[in-house]
Assembly symmetry: C2
Amino acid sequence: MEWDAWGLGEFRKQLSPQVLGLLRAALGVDAAQTAPPEESTVTLRPSTLTDAQRADLHTRLGAENVHTDEGTRLRHAGGKSTPDLLRRKDTGAQDAPDAVVLPGSHTEILGLLRWCADQRIAVVPFGGGTSVVGGLDPVRGEFAAVLALDLRRLDSLLDLDPVSGIAVLQAGLTGPQAEELLGARGFSLGHFPQSFQFATIGGFAATRSSGQASAGYGRFDDMVERVVVATPAGTLDLGRGPASAAGPDLRELVVGSEGTFGVITEVAVRVHRVPETTAYRAWSFPDFDTGATALRSVVQAGAAPTVLRLSDEAETGVNLALAGDIGGESPTSGCLAITTFEGTSDHVRARSAEAGALLAAAGGTDLGDGPARSWEHGRFDAPYQRDALLAAGATVETLETATHWSNLTTLRSAVTTALTESLAAQGTPPLVMCHISHTYPTGASLYFTVVCGQTADPLAQWAAAKRAAGDAIVAAGGTITHHHAVGRDHRPWMADEVGDLGTTVLRAVKEALDPVGILNPGKLIP
Amino acid sequence: MEWDAWGLGEFRKQLSPQVLGLLRAALGVDAAQTAPPEESTVTLRPSTLTDAQRADLHTRLGAENVHTDEGTRLRHAGGKSTPDLLRRKDTGAQDAPDAVVLPGSHTEILGLLRWCADQRIAVVPFGGGTSVVGGLDPVRGEFAAVLALDLRRLDSLLDLDPVSGIAVLQAGLTGPQAEELLGARGFSLGHFPQSFQFATIGGFAATRSSGQASAGYGRFDDMVERVVVATPAGTLDLGRGPASAAGPDLRELVVGSEGTFGVITEVAVRVHRVPETTAYRAWSFPDFDTGATALRSVVQAGAAPTVLRLSDEAETGVNLALAGDIGGESPTSGCLAITTFEGTSDHVRARSAEAGALLAAAGGTDLGDGPARSWEHGRFDAPYQRDALLAAGATVETLETATHWSNLTTLRSAVTTALTESLAAQGTPPLVMCHISHTYPTGASLYFTVVCGQTADPLAQWAAAKRAAGDAIVAAGGTITHHHAVGRDHRPWMADEVGDLGTTVLRAVKEALDPVGILNPGKLIP
């Protein structure tokens, strides 16, 4: 990925003159397209590794797998949140890992972690580099140096059991790499988060990722059958069957541990045969609450769509604008809902009919397949659009939560109000958009996108808004994160999430697996 | 429940002369119906509580909630496994808790646990008393006394959110109590394990229970939205939404903890509206492997039955015999499969048609609804039948495991062989029956029922067979328990299940929550 933006440079977006005009009119963004900074102007804090440590690493991993050049360090200096990208523009000395190491096996990682514990060097496990919660910040904690442990060399499909539908994947495989290896055998994982194109299997597990087809295939944590973890205290190999009553499910302790307990090296996941057919159907609802109630009726009936999502009025309108459709015929004036169904023709026909009847009965207007196909076509574009808006002088960021159905309206309103009030008080009243992208029988996620003008200090501007939103989420009974994970940015709310005694439990597990505390200090655990 | 048998005396079964004849002919069981022992002949080890401790308990809980009489202690002396019932026949001094206490609230339990830690008194949390893995054995460990903490007074439906489909239930509610409270409001939990009639909500959570409708409504661990736990170190209150990426899922550490980390006092669970209709359909398959492949096709297609199970040839035949059908027309000579479907008429029709087409294509013969309705009618009877066979001089016990589909035949064969060889070597060649009662996209459970003649020491006889079966399960890649939990009986295999480092993690969590170690010593954690 680019060092200062999401994704690949070739896919960078340009905003149309109409959108720039809208930005100016609605949010006061002056839309002066400033040239992006040159990489050559960036200065990194020098590496603190000693020559002896560097030589040790060369011996352990091979010199070609130990990088201390500025370009590699810069590309491991953080994730891809808006604050991350703003920090990349800093003209002072930027923080970065002291080295980037690329071990080639579980055994090498085990040895490396022990060596790091001995040397008192912190370790940040690094998958696709797509964190938007500060999970990759090169925090040293109490240690003199920090390594980014890049897992890209662990990129094999180790096994595929076609009868059980289980693939054993190494942690460094990216979403597309895994799908390609599985697709060649007629299988698919079906896990398509926004970060899909770059994020890795290990990262999906470490952060409890949830994909756009979660209604059909479940969250990534649901897909994990077995997980292998290298820790400073040795290897954890957890999961002996499709389900078990043999005590606490320790897989669920590793899944979501964000590199603070160990490095996930291998994951056995549930896969399915590439579906015979996919049906697409979009719907329009007059307002968000009506749409949400309709989605609830579908998921509570078990009508089993593969994708089920709903944008509010603002997001529906803006997405159309960004897609270049301004002036064209708008497919909906209200809230756009997307459904897809995968499986055999008969299976798809039955589910689609059941869901369609429920959505229509709940007030939906059938828009046909077009808008659903358009959504799928552009579904990985949002981060590129975010970058184009950032470059145009807007502050743009997303955040997300989840709650029970009965609390959805309250939570949405609380977060919208908190964001609006915080940013308005800073002189930059925002546009706040919201969608539901993940549904469960008992509740749903809420995903917010915020756009406003930039103040002179956009990092401080967003930090204040984020603090207000996080406090509002917790006060209104939501979870501080539905699928972005905790990292550094959500850590202040972890005690609200699990309580003081839950925090004590997390620390006890950390102490058992990583007694020196080298793994991802400053993340997740308060 | 009866002190020396499963369930209520009024439902005790009598074996028909034909079945007794079969037992004699097939297994050499002489079928002499011995009179059950009288309760008055049982001697218990005297309570070791001091007068001061008893007075303290009276002050804390009220004298009426502290029982040291022999009848109450005897009824809390263990669970309902075959070894438990054999131990109840012991004419020497039997072990039992030193007192049975009935706290009335979470707060009382918190205080009680702190008092027990101070006094160095062990605590066995006690729900419905249905453990079949020694989870309720009154083990003192290093302590001078042990209390059974009976949760029956925590029997309220605290809240029902009809929009989200979430009920907040106190831990001491039994299955029927919970269903009655929910049913009055039009809802159902849909959790019907064999122990349903007596087991409790807290017990379901503490042991990762799985019900007969798990194909439709999931395992109990899937249903848990939130769990509240009293520990010696304070209260855990875990679960803030339908799903979260806020770190490790600590609910999954409490669920399955079998009273070793704390006492579950309250559980918020997913519930659903009482279904409009239920469709029943039974199928016959020529052999077990053909039937298993058929079930796999249904679950992997997402055809979503509510119940999906398959008995092997032996179980199919014996169940018919026990149901009094000997001589009647047998509905199937092969392997009987049961399906049910719940929901609206349209929903049920579509699922039933899809599953039916898959089962027929895989070699199934449609037997209509009769055998499926019969199965449902008698589905809680098996433990009564076990007791009747025990009384007739047979050794009868069950055990269960799970594995991935590709390993199912191997595992079934390994367990069958281990049980057969162990019991044959003891001079009592057994009948080993097997069924699949829980299916997942990636695998299924295997539930074994073993019947053979009794040796002079049936406890030792079964201990040897159980050891052989457990070793075979672990060697063949199964989990040591799919839904019976670990307790004392499966503890020898826990290190195989989670590894040495997993054991270290369990001990670290235990130390954080129960530093004195009073909670259910000798259970679960090796």
